[in-house]
């Protein structure tokens, strides 16, 4: 019997997916470049060392530079990884995040901002394209988590843990997929964009409700970083599932739109 194919992803969804992928990669790398210019986060509406929750520094210890990461007041030696790292030009320097993970590689706040603000808009464009195309096709209905899905979340998790033979009955997407996509689409993406906009003095004047919503500019900077971290963790989980549930079938379906039904139905990324 020939493999049964379903048309799973519309052209709008596929375009949005790859634009998201590119935008998130560029935004994280250029964001770390921007972060390096002030390598600390304060849980306060303004800078305040007594409310510092994260701080990357290079300190001289016995005449040698040592990378130090201070988390909630607890210092850790992180030389060569964080604090004192690769300067992106073949040497080492006092830098929070190393050059290989920042965009551009060398310390360059101006160009980091150039990348970040262009791809920030790209994230918004991808969101708009996705929502319009999904709404037009009516596929948002299949994706959004509903109250009726809640009792199925734990059985689905048991199935992922191989503690249950069959997944609970569901539609195109399983309850955990729905929960993940709903949280990312309507939680994480808007929050990461809004906390980013809240850092801007022009936006704080134009939209005066926004920055206080997150506790002030420095708090918004902390949240922006936290949401970035969650988004990166989600992306790694997503990639893990892509690879373990039929990598080629998954990637191909996100390029051509066609998904071949098989043993991984409904447990994909």
């Amino acid at each position: 019997m020939p493999a049964q194919k379903v048309y799973r992803h519309t052209v709008g969804a596929r375009f949005a997916h790859w634009l998201w992928a590119l935008a998130i990669l560029v935004l994280v790398m250029s964001g770390l470049q921007i972060f390096n210019a002030a390598p600390y986060l304060d849980a306060s509406d303004k800078n305040d060392v007594s409310h510092r929750v994260l701080w990357f520094r290079a300190q001289l210890v016995d005449g040698k530079p040592q990378g130090t990461t201070t988390v909630f007041g607890h210092p850790f030696v992180t030389t060569n990884v964080l604090g004192y790292t690769d300067d992106g030009a073949g040497g080492k320097a006092s830098r929070a995040f190393p050059g290989w993970v920042t965009l551009p590689g060398e310390q360059d706040l101006a160009d980091g901002r150039l990348w970040h603000f262009f791809f920030g808009w790209m994230l918004v464009v991808a969101m708009a394209v996705y929502l319009v195309s999904a709404f037009a096709r009516g596929s948002l209905r299949e994706l959004i988590l509903r109250p009726s899905d809640l009792p199925k979340l734990w059985p689905m998790q048991l199935y992922y843990f191989r503690l249950r033979k069959e997944p609970p009955p569901h539609g195109t997407y399983n309850p955990l997929q729905k929960a993940a996509y709903t949280l990312v689409l309507f939680g994480l993406f808007p929050l990461v964009v809004l906390t980013g906009i809240a850092l801007s003095p022009g936006a704080d004047a134009a939209l005066p409700w926004l920055t206080p919503l997150f506790g002030g500019r420095q708090f918004a900077r902390l949240w922006h970083f936290v949401f970035m971290g969650i988004l990166v963790a989600y992306t790694f989980g997503h990639l893990l599932l892509v690879v373990t549930t039929g990598a080629w079938n998954n990637v191909r379906s996100m390029i051509t739109g066609w998904y071949v039904l098989g043993r991984h139905d409904g447990v994909g990324p």
Partner: protein, 242 residues
């Protein structure tokens, strides 16, 4: 075997260096103007709207950070400082009907106001200060900009180690904003030399690098000189509201 090792290690280092140079080539290539196009979107979407947040006295940062070029040390500036700014004249010229040379007293006589606003640095930190000064719009009204004047350019006393002079610019809309002031006092005291004495620009709706310290001359112009400012010439966005 050695040859293979050599090949492998050169390929590896090429790969590492390549990654960095690819990132640089992407940034400096034709893509740069595409990336820069977002600035126009920012200016249109956010621009200069509304009023910057004002704070209570209790929110003031006690030790306002210094983050700029070095305080000028040239003989002109040092001489003015020694004379307690008495010979200082703020020059307003360029495309204006009535060029001005204002002493500090004449400047203050235009009417001062005090505002406690947040200073947002492009690096990411912020500090809150109490600024007293004169609205830039009052000074411009005195000088009467010509019809074809579009930009206000601030020429400053400070210069970098290569001798490049600091300058900044705003468009007339940003200059007319009620919280765009020529500050003479910080936290109730005349500006210290390190904070831009005797007169600095303070624009509350944009990042710190727009708020030029040590303002010497204000020029009305039809076009921007260079990219519109010292940091702009080094790749920073002219619109610094974001």
């Amino acid at each position: 075997m050695k040859r293979r090792l050599f090949l492998a290690s050169s390929l590896a280092s090429l790969g590492l260096a390549g990654c960095s140079s690819v990132k640089d080539a992407l940034t400096q290539g034709p893509l740069r103007s595409v990336l820069g196009s977002a600035q126009g979107v920012d200016l249109t979407v956010i621009g200069t709207r509304g009023l910057a947040r004002e704070y209570n006295e209790s929110a003031i940062t006690s030790d306002f950070p210094l983050d700029s070029l070095d305080t000028p040390t040239d003989t002109t500036y040092a001489g003015l400082q020694r004379a307690n700014w008495a010979p200082y004249r703020l020059v307003v010229d360029g495309l204006v009907a009535r060029p001005q040379r204002l002493s500090l007293a004449e400047l203050r006589a235009l009417g001062t106001l005090t505002q406690i606003t947040r200073h947002d640095c492009v690096e990411g930190w912020s500090a809150i200060g109490k600024w007293t000064g004169v609205r830039l719009s009052s000074v411009l009204a005195l000088a009467q900009p010509a019809q074809h004047a579009r930009f206000v350019v601030f020429h400053c006393f400070d210069r970098d180690q290569l001798g490049n002079t600091y300058y900044e610019s705003l468009n007339l809309h940003q200059a007319a904003h009620p919280q765009t002031i020529l500050a003479t006092d910080l936290n109730g005291k005349p500006l210290a030399p390190d904070h831009g004495a005797p007169v600095r620009l303070k624009i509350a709706t944009q990042l710190g690098y727009k708020s030029a310290k040590w303002v010497q001359r204000i020029e009305l112009a039809a076009n921007l000189p260079g990219s519109g400012g010292y940091w702009e010439d080094q790749g920073y966005a002219w619109y610094a509201g974001i």
